[in-house]
């Protein structure tokens, strides 16, 4: 056999292998790929139901007060909060029977008088205060807890919450964000619940291997025995829930296809086509549900005099130079759309009038060039800091291409999270000119003030994160967040001024879908689009 023949044979075999690997043959189902790993063991008997779910990251520790976006799915399995956001964005009480506003900034929170954690420790008003203290000490909830002036136990089951500078949405955020634990369980854990975590939910952690899997089992001693009063997030229809760690979203998409897992916490829009058609109809064997996640991609400008974006004309030139519709279509494969303001339709206080797609910095190269001329742009490099989340690198790359087309020199600054944060909070205002980021919040107003990084200049020595010192913006901001002044009008006034000054620019939002395999007959999601495993309806194997 001569060399050419051998080469041809080898290349043909390689091509065959690649084609076979890429083929759409669905002849095998999940059962064929049975796994021996405890993480994917879905066997059950006598109606015992299990769910195997995948997430990209391990929580590292199971503390109720850690930081990091994706750890919330693990926290939700163990811990309850005073209230929670439903799929529809409504507030649903969990540990509270009720709450009332007794005077301006003062609230009474009434607890059920029979709450206990999975270890049997009773949960009372003092535990609420303890939980808030621990959350505050962690530093991870500074913006949410900032308005709290004091907390006092009126009796065993009533907490008086007093707020200073109460902002619209503050109470909701406070009630829905802080995990509750009993002081007794915290002390008994001996490790601040890093590994020995105990909550009041109907599930307890029974097994885990770091960076591999964690298994939760229904305890059958859940404190809320009246099923009609069980909050959606605290339902326990499934006997055992296992979260496995799959680092790569493509790999987790395959694992859903093979049936090794029932749901992946993160599914890239590139993989939506595996589970549903373009109209959003799930293929046989899958469940598809659009989530109310209000994640929005946007740009945050640096208004420091040390930045090329200090000039409003420069900021506007950048906005006009970008075709947000094209970016949305390309990056999110038809599931994205440009936004008509710095708002997301899923915000609680959203009204359609807030968006003006035809006039909101509509893609216009000529206008971009006009503003560039007004800004006196002389070819200086615009530094784009790219948040290391979601599809921001892809969005930023397209932005760079659009800016390049109108003659704006750009440099992309892509870093891992540590370096990113280090540059983001840099004090001189010289490091970046605008940030491309993806922001998400559970409610509208709370979201708005949080993404503006508190323009009241209280957080940073150098003013707001964007180096803005603008009294008019500050006034409008305070009117918008004021608990007595917040209204659609004040929100729109604020947004109008924001756009006039072009401090922030909304790029796009997208339809975020969640999927589940055939075992799940009813997929339940919360207000952030995260699965509520216990609320799902699952077939026994």
């Amino acid at each position: 056999m001569n060399r050419k023949k051998i080469l041809t044979l080898i290349l043909a075999l390689t091509m065959l292998f690649a084609l076979a690997a890429c083929s759409d043959d669905d002849s095998s189902d999940g059962e064929d790929s049975e796994s021996d790993s405890p993480a994917t063991d879905s066997t059950s008997s006598d109606g015992y139901t299990t769910l195997t779910l995948a997430n990209r990251t391990d929580p590292g520790n199971y503390s109720p007060y850690g930081s990091g976006g994706e750890r919330v799915v693990y926290e939700n399995m163990l811990y309850e909060r005073l209230a929670s956001y439903t799929y529809e964005g409504e507030i649903e009480l969990v540990l509270l029977t009720d709450y009332e506003r007794v005077e301006d900034g003062v609230y009474h929170l009434y607890l059920y008088d029979y709450i206990h954690d999975t270890e049997g420790n009773p949960f009372t008003a003092s535990d609420v205060i303890f939980s808030f203290e621990k959350a505050d000490a962690s530093g991870s909830y500074a913006d949410i807890l900032a308005p709290i002036a004091s907390l006092e136990a009126i009796d065993d089951y009533t907490v008086e919450l007093t707020m200073e500078n109460e902002r619209a949405g503050s109470l909701d955020a406070i009630m829905c964000s802080i995990n509750m634990v009993t002081e007794a369980a915290w002390i008994d854990s001996g490790d601040d619940m890093v590994k020995n975590a105990v909550g009041t939910s109907p599930y307890a952690m029974v097994d885990f291997v770091e960076d591999n899997y964690v298994t939760y089992q229904k305890t059958n001693n859940y404190w809320q025995t009246d099923e009609s009063l069980v909050a959606t997030r605290s339902m326990a229809n499934v006997d055992e829930v296992t979260w496995v760690i799959i680092y790569d979203t493509s790999a987790s998409a395959i694992a859903v296809e093979t049936g090794e897992i029932d749901h992946s916490h993160t599914t890239s829009s590139e993989n939506y086509g595996l589970y549903m058609d373009e109209d959003g109809n799930a293929y046989d064997g899958y469940q598809a549900k659009i989530s109310n996640s209000n994640m929005m991609y946007g740009m945050t400008f640096n208004a420091s005099e040390n930045s090329v974006c200090a000039d409003v004309n420069m900021r506007m030139a950048i906005c006009y130079a970008i075709d947000t519709e094209a970016i949305a279509t390309n990056v999110f494969k038809g599931y994205g759309r440009a936004v008509g303001n710095y708002v997301h339709p899923a915000y609680a206080d959203y009204v359609p009038e807030m968006e003006d797609l035809d006039n909101y910095f509509r893609y216009d190269v000529d206008k971009a060039k006009e503003h560039l001329e007004l800004a006196g742009y002389d070819g200086e490099t615009v530094k784009i800091l790219v948040a290391p989340t979601g599809s921001t690198p892809a969005v930023a790359t397209l932005i760079q291409a659009y800016l390049d087309a109108v003659g704006i020199n750009c440099e992309l600054m892509e870093y891992e999270s540590a370096t990113y944060y280090s540059y983001l909070y840099e004090e001189t205002g010289e490091v970046w000119d605008f940030v491309v980021n993806a922001v998400q919040g559970a409610s509208g107003v709370e979201y708005l003030w949080s993404i503006l990084y508190a323009n009241d200049n209280s957080l940073y020595d150098f003013g707001s994160l964007q180096h803005i010192f603008d009294d008019e913006l500050q006034t409008l901001y305070e009117e918008m967040i004021g608990v007595n002044t917040n209204s659609t009008e004040t929100v729109m006034n604020f947004l109008d001024y924001l756009n006039e000054q072009c401090y922030q620019y909304g790029i796009l939002c997208f339809d975020k879908y969640s999927f589940a395999g055939s075992k799940v007959t009813d997929l339940q999601l919360n207000g952030l689009g995260h699965i509520i495993p216990g609320a799902c309806t699952v077939l026994p194997d």
């Binding site: 056999m1 060399r3 051998i6 080898i10 292998f17 690649a18 076979a20 690997a21 890429c22 083929s23 043959d25 095998s28 189902d29 064929d32 790929s33 796994s35 021996d36 790993s37 405890p38 993480a39 994917t40 391990d58 590292g60 520790n61 503390s63 930081s67 530093g139 991870s140 909830y141 500074a142 949410i144 900032a146 890093v194 590994k195 291997v209 770091e210 960076d211 591999n212 899997y213 496995v244 799959i246 680092y247 790569d248 493509s250 790999a251 395959i254 694992a255 093979t258 090794e260 891992e416 999270s417 540590a418 370096t419 944060y421 280090s422 540059y423 983001l424 909070y425 209280s458 940073y460």
Partner: protein, 310 residues
């Protein structure tokens, strides 16, 4: 040499991380914390101390207290985290080395003894393809074929021997190709040596020449390469660990770097440096078993020392 090397590594990694941008306190508190809280945490963590103070504290902790530290993010011991992950990485690295022995050696020897014949050409083509295929591509293709399409093997995680088949193949293909080429070139050099010609002239069988005379002499540089590769692999094959979701040392270290988890990065690097030095030491010892000349050299030195002292 091991002690200065490890000390050097410790100082180097500390210095690099000290001057690398990225605030561990900010990462720990994410973007919700006030500047005051970040500052307080930095003070608490000792990050505001001078370079010298932090370096001395680090070296004391490493080499006097024998403590790799506690992860900022996980709040767990770095040593226990690494030891928990090391067996998985060691399985991957060990099996890759085994693949090199059982596949690369025979291939390399076959190619050398059949130089320029079809067997040699076939080996060369296989080796070139093996080196050209990126391991992440191979990993994804194998997942698509064997997990998704055929449903034969699990696509992620650890747990049974079936979980390891694809990662080992994907991780070892590059190393097998390299060792095959090394074995071939070394073997070619050795079988042209005078002592091989002499052995042939004395009527020693070709098989005996290959395996008893030529092979041991071929092995020395090849084993050096394999040992170094094994030591490096113990540091983790991040790509393969990520593709197959294997919770190994590599992924742990990369996550530590992304989160600016300084104890994980520093402790992990020092631990792996020690491990690497030990592997190199074992290779040196192996030389003595494989090559009688090395053994004789050591024995000769010992005899000279005894003579001098007498």
């Amino acid at each position: 040499m091991i002690i200065p090397v490890i000390l050097g590594v410790a100082v180097l990694i500390f210095t690099i991380m000290y001057f690398t941008p990225g605030d561990a306190a900010r990462v720990m508190l994410a973007d919700n914390a006030t500047q005051a809280q970040v500052e307080a945490l930095r003070e608490d963590m000792g990050l505001n101390d001078s370079y010298i103070v932090q370096l001395l504290r680090f070296l004391k902790q490493m080499f006097i207290d024998f403590d790799l530290g506690t992860s900022y993010i996980n709040q767990t011991s770095v040593m226990s985290d690494i030891l928990m992950r090391l067996p998985r990485t060691a399985i991957l690295a060990g099996m890759c080395m085994l693949m090199q022995i059982i596949v690369a050696f025979p291939l390399g020897i076959t190619a050398a003894v059949h130089q320029n014949k079809w067997q040699d050409q076939l080996c060369t083509i296989i080796v070139m393809i093996g080196q050209a295929i990126p391991n992440f591509w191979l990993a994804l293709m194998m997942i698509l074929l064997f997990s998704n399409t055929l449903g034969w093997l699990p696509s992620f995680g650890v747990g049974s021997w079936r979980h390891w088949i694809m990662p080992i193949i994907a991780a070892s293909i590059g190393g097998v190709s390299t060792i095959t080429r090394q074995t071939r070139s070394q073997m070619l050099e050795v079988i042209r040596s005078d002592y091989v010609v002499t052995a042939r002239a004395k009527g020693v069988s070709e098989r005996s020449i290959r395996y008893r005379h030529a092979l041991p002499n071929t092995l020395i540089p090849v084993i050096t390469g394999m040992g170094t590769a094994f030591g490096t692999a113990l540091g983790g094959s991040v790509v393969i660990e990520t593709a197959f979701s294997i919770p190994g040392v590599g992924k742990y270290m990369v996550d530590g770097i992304a989160n600016r988890d300084l104890p994980v990065i520093r402790g992990g690097v020092v631990f792996l440096a020690i491990l690497f030095c030990l592997v190199i030491l074992i290779i040196d010892v192996l030389y003595a078993f494989i090559d009688p000349r090395v053994k004789a050299q050591y024995e000769g030195q010992q005899k000279r020392r005894v003579k001098t002292s007498a």
